[in-house]
Amino acid sequence: MMENRTELVQDEVSQAVAAIKDKAGLSVDTAQVGKYLTFKIADETYGVEILKVQEIIQLLDITRVPKMPGFVRGVINLRGKVIPVMSLRKKFGIEDIPDTDRTCIIVINVPSSEGVITMGLVVDSVSEVLDIGADAIQESPSFGVSVDTTFILGMGKVDKKVVILLDIDRILSSQEAETIVKGV
């Protein structure tokens, strides 16, 4: 887990931020300063690094894959490529709702041991792209949020709104571990 955390510290900016936070007695597990794509699940706003996002598509026909954990909705045909799609609602343990017109899939590219993996995340709706500066990022609180904090990089504060910045890489790696356990 520590390796994953340190991997995230990629450039000088984040290293500087980490140094500052280190001095302040905070952990180096930190969100990067930059542009985030924000989206909504239930009433919360979440953000993923824009660099990891390939595109946003409307909800397509999803083919269920049997014997997969509940949060894996299945696979879709993205212009001839078969990519897995998962529901962030289920992943976060939030009650499932029927798909709406605004439900869409965020296609992300995440590095992994098998190379770059393209996958889709089903979210309630996509909001906007936000610039989040170093001063707007705070450590994730250890309580008071209805979601599992393991996947949270930090909290961004923009115009009094709070954006939960997600650690997409970790969401994937934990999913891999889970399916392997189930597969045995």
Partner: protein
């Protein structure tokens, strides 16, 4: 100028350290101008010659590139590169007897040796142009368009001129040719891949030679390979290979001069050399990729000594009939213009009459054939001499990309042409055009597939060698026959059938063929055991069969062993085929590795696993006392699967057609519940378990009553099970897409495929499903 070069490292010594002064022994330095008249030198295999000519277009292109780089002066390696190329060319031309090309290359090499900058690139271009022209001449078998002397004198004139120019002392010692090459990974990896190819081809030629020690074509081919290897290895400072190749070359040269006969010990030692080199090249590849230093082979000096001993040994020159190109008689017989008897008779007449008449003439005089047929045969004979096929080397990843993209195109095309909306209110013209589009897309798909296809020849040749070695080791007399080696199969499949095939060949030789000749004689079989390797197409699949005429599989022994291993219980009643198939079961053999002493059936589960990974299957048939046949049935390609689309509730799945035996509509009286074993179905008296796909995959909304559904009977080795689905939608060829990336481990599925409507169908992994069902 001279002193500067000599102060540096002598370039010749960099190329051939420790050369015993024997270089160029096959590249005569005498400038013989009557070679201008020779189109195709005698004793040269037409295929090799045409391949040589073929390669030259690329070589000349590179040569030109290097000359241009030299002119620009930005790459100090260019001169060395150019010299390397010319040297290789010299070597190859030498073997082929193209004396004028050897001379020009040699002179140019000398010319380059003498030069520091500036190099007169005009002269080099003139050499390149001359070479291009000369190759054209050779290709069309005509005289040299420009005499060799002209270019040679141009070279020497230019050398003299620059020498005076360059006589002023230079400040820095610039001798790029002195740069050692051992550090260049690109050159080394080129060498490794070339060497592998070369060594494979040597194996074949050696096998030919073993059967026919006088085969000059084969001998020349082997010689050429060793010469090339020597040249390149010397250039890359791979002294071990160079010395080994050199010694072997000397041995082969004596054989070429018919001073010794390449048979018995002599040919064995050449086989040894090939093996040593293969090992060395493999080590080299490992050390290149791992960065570890190369471990020197201690056996090398010993081997070289052995070669020298064999080479110096004076064997009596045997009277071997000279074998050149195909004889007119053979061609006539092949084209069915005459019978072998007629040809033999004509040959006899030709001899007794001691006339200077040609065979064709005799044949016509005797009325066996028409003059037209003979003319045709002569033409054929000449045509066979130079047959230049133009080929392009393409990166395999590009071909993969092309095939992938074609797959996408076909899917997109199906989505358009099968969309009902397209046909609503469209004119006949549009429909006609759409059909045309569909046809072209299919054709394109086929072309794409053939691009990935490679022939089985290389792997079959490896097996020929393997059988030879195994037979020698076990002291058995074996007659190995192979057929269908030109059958083409997907490149990725070829890479993966090597290991299973080795297992099968080993089994056939080690355990299939009886260990003693007496046993064979008693059984009324010929002294030589027959092992046959066949490949052929059947029903859209590739069949590769290994057959032996040995003792066959011992059913009783298999049964006893299977019971010992707990694979079956004493109560199980098995059919003969089921018993034989037990050898394919994991756990049948306890040996983890294949060894020469282990019993039959070793590693057969590994073979089965490997073949299944290729979505193929294996069949075993045996007749006690008569031998056994192992048949691998493989799909033509891994990129496309022939599948049956089935529906379960709202979901669709694809079952590979290869694993389907049949599908039946179950009747109520066929079904039964067996306590502890679940549902069973009896198909024509055979009882097998029935699994509901809807339950295995937790599909909701599927039919509950089996009699309204359909039972698809699938097979995995000895296990046959029925899988209950709702209905059969149809058969379809689909492009396979991987599934596992990002999904973790999938159960019972081997991949996904995009269906005609653009949605995804999941492909069932039959062995996985059976495992899932039986273990659940």
């Amino acid at each position: 100028m001279q002193s500067i070069v000599r102060d540096g490292v002598d370039p010749k010594e960099v190329e051939f350290p420790g050369d015993l002064g024997l270089k160029d022994e096959n590249a005569p330095e005498v400038s013989d101008s009557d070679n201008d008249e020779i189109g195709l030198p005698a004793n040269v295999d037409a295929d090799i010659f045409s391949e040589f000519l073929d390669n030259q277009a690329g070589v000349l292109e590179e040569v030109e590139g290097h000359i241009l780089a030299i002119e620009k002066g930005d790459n100090p390696d260019s001169i060395s590169e150019l010299r390397r190329q010319l040297h290789t060319l010299k070597g190859e031309a030498g073997v082929l007897g193209l004396v004028d090309i050897v001379d020009v290359c040699h002179a140019t090499e000398d010319f380059l040796d003498k030069e520091n900058s500036p190099v007169p690139t005009d002269t080099l271009f003139a050499v390149k142009d001359w070479l291009a022209l000369r190759f054209e001449d050779y290709r069309s078998s005509r005289k040299a368009s420009e005499p060799v002397d002209a270019i040679l004198s141009k070279l020497s004139a230019s050398a003299a001129e620059t020498q005076t120019q360059a006589s002023e002392p230079k400040e820095h010692n610039e001798s790029p040719q002195a740069v050692p090459f051992e550090g260049d990974p690109t050159l080394l990896s080129d060498f490794i891949s070339e060497a592998k190819e070369h060594l494979e081809s040597v194996d074949v030629e050696l096998l030919n030679l073993e059967g026919d020690p006088g085969n000059q074509d084969a001998l020349n081919a082997v010689f050429r390979v060793f010469h090339t290897m020597k040249g390149t290895a010397g250039f890359l400072s791979l002294d071990d290979i160079k010395n080994l190749a050199h010694a072997t070359e000397t041995l082969l040269d004596r054989a070429r001069k018919e001073e010794i006969v390449l048979a018995g010990d002599a040919i064995d030692i050449v086989f040894d050399v090939v093996d040593t080199m293969k090992r060395y090249v493999a080590d080299l590849a490992t050390s290149l990729s791992s960065g570890e230093p190369l471990v020197r082979d201690d056996e090398l000096p010993e081997l070289i000594l052995k070669i020298k001993a064999v080479a110096s040994g004076d064997a009596l020159p045997e009277d071997v009939p000279e074998q050149t190109d195909k004889k007119i008689g053979e061609i006539l017989v092949e084209s069915k213009a005459a019978t072998p008897d007629q040809v033999n008779e004509a040959l006899a007449t030709q001899k007794t009459e001691a006339s200077k008449k040609k065979l064709g003439q005799v044949m016509v005089e005797k009325g066996y054939t028409s003059a037209k047929e003979v003319l045709g045969a002569i033409r054929k004979q000449q045509a066979a001499k130079v047959q230049v096929k133009d080929t392009v080397k393409v990166d395999t990843s590009r071909i993969d990309l092309l095939v992938d993209t074609i797959g996408e195109l076909v899917i997109a095309e199906v989505m358009v042409t099968q969309d009902p909306e397209v046909y609503q209110g469209t004119s006949i013209r549009v429909q006609k055009n759409l059909r045309q589009l569909a046809k072209v897309a299919r054709e394109l798909q086929e072309v794409g597939m053939t691009m990935r296809m490679v022939s089985l020849r290389a792997i079959f040749q490896k097996m020929a060698r393997l059988v030879r070695d195994l037979a020698k080791k076990s002291g058995k007399k074996i007659n190995f026959v192979m057929s269908g080696e030109d059958t083409e199969i997907d490149r990725s499949v070829v890479d993966k059938i090597g290991d299973p095939l080795i297992h099968l060949m080993r089994n056939a030789v080690d355990h299939g063929i009886e260990s003693s000749e007496e046993d064979r004689k008693k059984a009324g079989k010929p002294e030589y055991g027959a092992v046959e390797l066949r490949a052929f197409h059947k029903g859209g699949n590739i069949y590769i069969e290994v057959e032996d005429d040995g003792g066959g599989l011992d059913k009783d022994a298999i049964l006893i062993k299977a019971k010992e291993r707990g694979l079956i219980t004493s109560e199980d009643t098995l059919s003969d085929q089921e018993i034989i198939n037990l050898i394919l079961e994991p756990g049948f053999s306890t040996a983890k590795k294949v060894s020469d002493v282990s019993g039959r059936g070793v590693g057969m589960d590994v073979v089965k696993k490997n073949i299944e990974a290729l979505r193929g299957r294996i069949e075993v048939s045996t007749q006690p006392g008569k031998g056994s046949t192992f048949t691998m049935i493989l799909p033509l390609t891994l990129a496309i699967i022939d599948g049956m689309v089935v529906r379960v509730g709202p979901e669709r799945y694809i079952i590979p057609t290869l694993s389907i035996i049949e599908s039946i509509a179950p009747q109520a009286d066929m079904l039964s519940m067996v306590t502890g074993k679940g549902e069973m179905i009896s198909v024509r008296g055979e009882l097998m378990p029935l699994f509901r796909l809807s339950r295995l995959f937790e599909v909701s909304g599927a039919k509950e009553d089996p009699t309204t559904g359909l039972a698809v009977i699938v097979e995995d080795g000895m296990k046959r099970v029925a899988v209950l689905v709702d209905e059969l939608i149809g058969q379809q060829q689909t492009v396979i897409k991987g599934l596992s990336k990002g999904l973790g481990k999938t159960v019972g599925l081997s991949g996904a495929s995009i269906m005609a409507d653009g949605r995804i169908g999941l492909i069932l992994d039959v062995p996985g499903v059976i495992k899932m069902a039986t273990e659940a």
